[in-house]
Amino acid sequence: ELKVEQNPLFLSMQEGKNYTIYCNYSTTSDRLYWYRQDPGKSLESLFVLLSNGAVKQEGRLMASLDTKARLSTLHITAAVHDLSATYFCAVDIRGGSEKLVFGKGTKLTVNP
């Protein structure tokens, strides 16, 4: 059974600081997805990582994938309050986006 673990589950940081969220998964997969969820809202796609060594960047967020280590990271650079949200990683269980397994999410709070 594929398991996806995120850490930390809660992250409180100050504006301007850097931090990394980690996503580990238990079986072979080369497709990993990051989503953002604002309070009371649905999930919004952030990044799609489809191969080993993939790196994607959007603004202050950068995601990477190491399939050999079964690890993805979401790095936050110079955090701002607008980044406060819950971030989920998800792994493709059958190699074709037919079924994703989600981590429990990391709730990020960026304080002024």
Binding site: F88, A90, G96, S97, K99
Partner: protein, 115 residues
Amino acid sequence: DVKVTQSSRYLVKRTGEKVFLECVQDMDHENMFWYRQDPGLGLRLIYFSYDVKMKEKGDIPEGYSVSREKKERFSLILESASTNQTSMYLCASSSTTHGTIYGYTFGSGTRLTVV
């Protein structure tokens, strides 16, 4: 842009009622999914469908059923609503045959309260 539309944003139902949650997508996606989201438990897959009239159980199908009579529509049915089914319900869709994979597109969610 792919759009996944859930018919209700908020619903309040009584215990024992039969509840229908509707989800429609407009991009000809083969795969559709129903999740529920609860604090501390993350997203849990209830049912999914990879084709019309096809369905597969997810991790927590008990107390739920689904219907997919048309490709664009996937309905979640609570046969007899109970208070432990109070939750946020999220519908999602995806495609595996158009050559590009972007993961799921989610609907806006339905917050169901069973009283």
